[in-house]
C-alpha cells in the first residue's frame, strides 16, 4: 500500500487550519502534520528492503531502510512512547527527517484550526515528543514533533552502526562463494 501525500491538497486548505494525519499505536491516537509525512507504506511492502540492526543504546530502532538514496531509521512507536508492544502494520516515512515510524493504523486526515501548546506542567520527555495538543471531537490528541523521535546523538550512533553494517555487507559480497 502506498498513500502519496498530495501537495495540491495543501493549497485547497484554508491558511487558518492545519492538516493532520491521525494514527494509532495500540489504543492511543496521535496526530502528525500531513506535511511532515513523505509516504505511508505497509510493513509488508518494506520487509524485503529493511535491514536489521540492533543497537543497545537505541533499542527503539531495529531496522533501517534505504529510500531514494537516503537511510531511514525505523522507530518502533510503541517503544518510543513506552506503550505496550503491538504488531504494527504501517510505516510513516517522514519528510526531511531520516526517520520512519512503525504504527498500527491510520485513522483519518483532519483539518484542525489550532494546535494548543503543551502545558508547562509537562516537563518530561514528552516535551521532545510533542509539539502540542489538539482538541478534536471531545478528544485531546497529542501532535507529534517529527524530529523528536531520534536525538542528534542517536542519529550519530545509528549512522556509525549503519556504516559498519554496510562495510560488513560489502566484505561478505567480496568473498567468493
Amino acid at each position: 500500500m502506498k498513500i502519496a501525500m498530495q501537495d495540491t491538497a495543501k493549497s485547497r486548505r484554508s491558511r487558518s487550519t492545519e492538516a493532520l494525519i491521525l494514527f494509532c499505536i495500540g489504543t492511543q491516537t496521535f496526530a502528525i502534520a500531513a506535511d511532515a509525512v513523505q509516504e505511508i507504506r505497509s510493513t509488508d511492502s518494506l520487509a524485503t528492503a529493511a535491514v536489521e540492526m540492533e543497537l543497545a543504546e537505541v533499542p527503539k530502532v531495529r531496522h533501517l531502510v534505504e529510500r531514494s538514496h537516503r537511510t531511514y531509521y525505523v522507530v518502533s512507536g510503541c517503544v518510543h512512547f513506552g506503550l505496550r508492544v503491538t504488531r504494527p502494520t504501517l510505516v510513516l516515512i517522514l519528510r526531511q527527517i531520516r526517520t520512519a515510524v512503525l504504527v498500527d493504523s491510520i485513522e483519518r486526515m483532519v483539518d484542525v484550526p489550532k494546535v494548543h501548546a503543551l502545558p508547562q506542567a509537562f516537563q518530561g520527555e514528552e516535551r521532545q515528543w510533542y509539539r502540542g495538543l489538539t482538541y478534536l471531537e471531545d478528544r485531546v490528541i497529542p501532535v507529534i514533533q517529527p524530529n523528536g523521535f531520534l536525538t542528534p546523538e542517536e542519529f550519530a550512533r545509528l549512522d556509525r552502526a549503519s556504516k559498519s553494517i554496510e562495510a560488513r555487507h560489502e566484505l561478505e559480497g567480496a568473498v567468493p562463494a
Binding site: G26, T27, Q28, F30, F81, G82, L83, R84, H116, P119, Q120, A121, F122, Q123, G124, E125, E126, W129, L133, Y135, D138, R139, V140, I141, P142
Partner: protein, 161 residues
Amino acid sequence: MSGAQNHARKSWVLLHVGNRRFALPAESVMELAPPVRLHNFPHTSRLIAGVIVRRGRIVPVYDVAPVLCGRESSVHRFYLIADRAFGTDAGPDATEASAIPVNGECELATGEMQPPQENAPPYFAGTLAIEAENIDVLDLQKLVSAVRDNPSATNHAEPRP
C-alpha cells in the same frame, strides 16, 4: 491592622483531598469544575494524571492524593482549577491553570496563615486554624517541584498512557 497583617489575613479555599482538608489562597483559585472527561496520553511527567478541557483551554491535572495522603482516591470527581506559578525562587516567570482532583466539597474561609509546623514538607506554606482544625496551606509550585526533584515521593515513574 498593619499592611502585613492585612496580607496574612486573607481568603482561602478549603478543599478535600482524600480524608484531609487543605487550603489554597483564594486569589489563585479560578473555578471548581464539574466531573469532566480526563484525557490521557503517553508522558513521563510525575504527578500528572492527564488533562481536562475547560472553557476552550487544556488544563493539566495533578494527582496530588498519593503525595498528600499516601494513596490514590476514587472519590475525587471534581476539579479545583488554580493558577500554578512557573519560574525560580527569585520569582515566577508565568502562571498556568492547573487542576487538582477534589471531592467537590470546597468552602471559602478567612484566616491568618501561621508558619508551617516543624518538619513540615516544603510544599506546606503554612497552617490555618479553622474550626479547631489545623489546615495545611498548599504551595502548588513547591508540591510539584518536590515530586519532580524527589521521585520517591510518588509512584508515577513510568510513562502514563
